[in-house]
């Protein structure tokens, strides 16, 4: 179904990478023989189901992002736009640059450079039956809810998933979720949370353990070992 529709991606690369402690934004640190952003950008550019990509970067990094996209040369990057103060505000900035004719929109974090094209395909395929789809992996830790340093509840991890990106949505549902988010926008840790809040159906597809999120120097070291 997805291939008959117009599908766009927003690649969120606007994080300053404070926890990474590098001298530049996270998306522009080295990974293998290129920058971190290049891997996910190439995956999106090369994916046959996508018609266009909008990259969201920190202020001042729009030109390096455009140059990088030109080098990759698949020609799908329509814009490199400036991010906001939070992830959700950066996504909103990206959404504003996605053309109105997009039927499906995928949002992906550049901090996850190892997401596969197959994973993106699974997410898109699930949008045939649901308004949103997110990759999820089982939670292997015991997770507890705490209040004031005291355990309140041990959660049943059989019913928990740790979610990843790319996350895909019907465009109108995603845009409406961001339009209505208001005060909840800054605190949202993923797009799906805002979509869920509208009552739309979000389904979980099988995620990938290899789909590492680069947050800390340890994560970056692990990512570099994999290249």
């Amino acid at each position: 179904m997805a291939e008959l529709l117009s599908s766009w991606a927003v690649l969120v690369a606007a994080g300053e990478g404070t926890r990474l402690g590098a001298d530049r934004p996270k998306a522009f640190v080295g990974l293998g023989d290129e920058v971190l952003l290049a891997r996910s950008l190439r995956m999106l550019e090369d994916h046959p189901a996508l018609d266009g990509v909008v990259v969201v970067v920190p202020e001042g990094w729009e030109e390096p992002a455009t140059l990088l996209a030109d080098e990759l040369a698949a020609g799908k990057v329509a814009a490199a736009v400036t991010g906001g103060a939070s992830r959700a505000e950066s996504v909103a900035a990206g959404l504003a640059a996605v053309p109105d004719e997009a039927d499906l929109i995928v949002v992906h974090d550049a901090a996850r450079p190892f997401a596969s094209a197959e994973l993106l395909s699974r997410v898109l395929a699930a949008l045939g039956e649901a308004e949103g789809a997110v990759p999820g992996v089982p939670v292997t830790d015991t997770v507890k809810r705490v209040d004031g340093g005291r355990v309140v509840e041990t959660l049943d991890r059989a019913h928990l998933v740790a979610v990843q990106t790319p996350q895909g949505f019907h465009a109108g549902v995603l845009r409406a979720a961001y339009d209505r988010a208001g005060d909840r926008l800054a605190a949202a840790t993923d797009c799906a949370a805002l979509v869920e809040a509208t009552g739309a159906t979000v389904t979980v597809v099988t995620g990938e353990h290899a789909n590492l999120k680069v947050t800390t120097p340890d994560d970056l070291a692990e990512a570099r070992r994999r290249c």
Copy 2:
């Protein structure tokens, strides 16, 4: 306070390590120039606050565990006992071998070879004010509750912790929790969950990101890189 009391540890090393896919139980795979079990066993044996250690191993591995303890030679290992079908049943077997005079009991997974002595000290210190204490680290993933593959709720990760071992308890509270667990025993993923179910207070101390749990071959590869 803890140093005035009798404190014992149960080291749970009874897992078959099915997900690891090795030719022997997880605790006996190589890590650096020794077996995985040796690291946590040494940390416990060397900790000045502990009076004794009970090691729980798979059936048939009691003698190798005893030989290993003899080599480490701190002389605190009182017994190597046979584990049960689940983690909780193995803990129960270990508890049965801890002397009645123990005031505090710490339960640690051999699958976490990098837990530090300082972490154990923090857990024990917290038992001055609470009946149980567990190390916890912030949950960095977005975690969702799912039902039948559909997202039901995005949890507020500001109130979630991923818990680790060693976990410490007042001995009577821990023993009572296991005695009363009944059908809940097999499903318990940590000791604290059973203690919480009795209404006892469990507090969270700052855990360690380095306190990796070895479950999969990837985890073991990462653990070996750190040695």
